[in-house]
């Protein structure tokens, strides 16, 4: 009986999860393309910024969780060792989404560039084995206009 529930959840995770992930990626790529004209860099502390009149900090953050299928794969990977492929797309999506959110807010404010961008990642699920497989990713930087 429990095996059946497990299989259903895994199947749901695989099919629906995959579909949602692909949709998310498509949205991310589209938004990246649209906002490509505003530069982002992670330096800026020691540069002259001649066109800068105003500066303001902006933060973009997102909490992403993995689907059941990927969590299962990752649990097995923990035994075998090596690259955890299942989580790669999770953090990649999360980072790009957080970056885009920060950029969106800054562009609304009227930024011409964003300098000194930094990242922070933390595990939300807690350290126990049965916790959530969720990650919070934060991107913050100074917008200049």
């Amino acid at each position: 009986m429990e095996l059946l529930v497990l299989l259903i959840l895994t199947g749901l995770g695989f099919f629906v999860g995959r579909h949602l992930e692909q949709k998310h990626y498509a949205s991310i790529k589209e938004r990246e393309k649209k906002t490509l004209h505003i530069p982002m860099m992670n330096f800026g502390a020691k540069q002259d910024l001649p066109h800068a009149h105003e500066a303001q900090m902006f933060v973009g953050s997102v909490v992403v969780a993995n689907d059941y299928f990927k969590t299962l794969s990752a649990a097995l990977r923990n035994l075998v060792g090596g690259r955890v492929v299942a989580y790669e797309s999770l953090v990649d999506r999360g980072r790009r989404e957080a970056l885009l959110r920060m950029k969106a807010e800054a562009m609304e404010w009227g930024a011409s560039q964003i300098v000194n961008v930094r990242f922070e990642t933390s595990n939300i699920g807690g350290q126990t084995g049965g916790g959530l497989a969720a990650v919070e990713i934060m991107a913050y930087g100074t917008a200049i206009r």
């Binding site: 490509l36 530069p39 982002m40 860099m41 992670n42 330096f43 800026g44 502390a45 020691k46 540069q47 990752a74 990977r77 923990n78 035994l79 075998v80 060792g81 090596g82 690259r83 955890v84 989580y87 790669e88 999770l90 953090v91 990649d92 980072r95 970056l99 961008v117 930094r118 990242f119 922070e120 990642t121 933390s122 595990n123 699920g125 350290q127 126990t128 084995g129 916790g131 497989a133 990650v135």
Partner: protein, 112 residues
């Protein structure tokens, strides 16, 4: 084992490349990898916890992972046509019990 293949790109943690000028910049580049250790290493580490000292297995694992994430970042920079990546920063975090994410990011630039 530790030689990083940066494909001829200059990597610095400074805001520029000393002695050169930045002529073009292409935005942020990021490289990340997530690695897990296997049960064998876990058990050996458990033993090491008794006597103390360097966990060579883990050190090598994370060094390899760091190398890979930097190489991925360099690969993104190459796609943009950069010849240097400045202000390289690292971030290590745990995304799941037993798995660690190694993240390297910087700004891709062209220097002359």
């Amino acid at each position: 084992m530790n030689a990083l293949d940066s494909h001829g790109l200059t990597l610095t943690t400074l805001e520029g490349v000393p002695g050169k000028e930045i002529v073009e910049h292409y935005g942020l580049v990021q490289g990340s990898t997530i690695r897990a250790k296997h049960v064998g290493k876990d058990i050996m580490a458990g033993f090491k916890n008794i006597v103390g000292g360097e966990l060579k297995g883990y050190t090598e694992l994370l060094q390899e992972a760091r190398k890979e994430s930097v190489e991925r970042m360099v690969s993104q920079a190459q796609q943009l046509g950069a010849n240097a990546v400045v202000n390289v920063r690292f971030a290590t975090s745990s995304v799941a019990p037993g798995a660690a994410e190694l993240f390297a990011y910087g700004t891709a630039v062209k220097v002359q």
